[in-house]
């Protein structure tokens, strides 16, 4: 599935500085298992997404988000409101 749009590109750009393991990131990439981010990295990354899009991604929402694609969908939903 082609997910590329402006939101996807902006999210991908924000993942890069946290992608210390140099994983090839796609929409299917999982934050915990593939990128192996710990809770502090997740917090900082979420903060950077929140600042970029001026949104709040609550911990309730974060619990449902496993992959990059799901995050992009969530950001789209929050910015359309």
């Amino acid at each position: 599935m082609d997910q590329s749009d402006e939101t996807f590109d902006r999210v991908m750009a924000l993942i890069e500085p946290f992608n210390k393991k140099g994983v090839a990131v796609t929409a299917a990439t999982r934050f915990q298992q593939d990128l192996e981010w710990d809770s502090l990295t997740v917090l900082d990354f979420v903060a950077s997404i929140e600042d970029e899009f001026d949104i709040i991604i609550t911990m309730n929402m974060q619990a449902e988000i496993e992959t990059v694609g799901q995050l992009v969908d969530a950001v789209r939903g929050l910015t359309e409101k």
């Binding site: 502090l40 917090l43 900082d44 903060a47 929140e50 709040i56 609550t58 911990m59 309730n60």
Partner: protein, 399 residues
Amino acid sequence: MTDLFSKFDPLIEQRETLLSTGLTDPFNLVMERVESPTVAICNGRRTILLGTYNYMGMTFDADVIAAGKKALDEFGSGTTGSRVLNGTYAGHRAVEQALKDFYAMDHAMVFSTGYQANLGIISTIAGKDDYVVLDIDSHASIYDGCALGNAQIVAFRHNDIEALEKRLKRIPEGAGKLVVLEGVYSMLGDVAPLKEMVAVSKANGAMVLVDEAHSMGFIGEHGRGVAEAQGVIDQVDFIIGTFSKSVGTVGGFCVSNHPKFEILRLVCRPYVFTASLPPSVVATAATSIRKLMETTDKRAHLWENSKRLHAGLRQLGFTLGTSEPQSAIIAVIMPDLEMGAAMWEALLKEGLYVNLARPPATPAGMTLLRCSLCAEHSGDQVDEILAMFGAAGRATGCI
């Protein structure tokens, strides 16, 4: 059949690996006898206690013990009931009055543990469309309070005022907001910038709850905690506290000036659906709280101990959680769990008990040797403690 326990396999394996080296299990220590707030017998050996929350050393106070014995004789061993049914005795009212006097607040509600106080207050006052904004390093009881309720949960970076403000400003107009902070964060022993954080919270229309579990009795002019020390206690809506630290027994509480506070007694499930504290416990707590109002000398000595231990450990070459002593907790940062466990065991063999703290309790995956001081530690004991740290550090190659 799927074994429901298979999810624990990685932890079981990690423990087995660690213990197969012959190491004493740091999470299975038994205190065979307790001599005083600062000394116990562990494995037949006299051990200095530097890993309790007995900050003010009230557990062996003669008046406290006498009050407990009297209540045990007069009211029996337990209430066998909920606070809202048959579980409120004169002693429960008396300890709530002692709390109101201690904090100079209108309302006090006593829970069976401090954990339940956070669980109950947070889950009850923050409803489905409300927002709870909390520090990422919050205690498990705060997170569990969030999990028990169904509010929207937003975390911000530890002690980051700007991060808190940004999140508050993004919350939808009209939504209820509860900011949850701690006075002293118990892992590293650092203090929150409550003055700024409470101001930012109030400017953005949020109610504020501060957990002062690790500051009661010795921080602030009247020992009311960090919010008092930083001059913002009047703007804090709810203070959560515990009897299991400075007060020296068990139980939790919330104090508040909110005019509708008393309704919580009927709607707060962790208050309603559990048995109330035994009469002896509330009697010891009330006596201890009243004594904590007049303990200026002990407070000063506790601070002296904290400064002395902090400076001494630093001089020995240990890495500490804070650059200066901010509370009665001094956290020694270990490079990893293996070294932490080895140091912990070496200290125990020297005759010193500290807390080995590890993830998920600790921030950023750290392993800590957490030292908490008591007002009853003598200056000589602190020197003895430093000598033991020196010996254990050299024996394990930690320093």
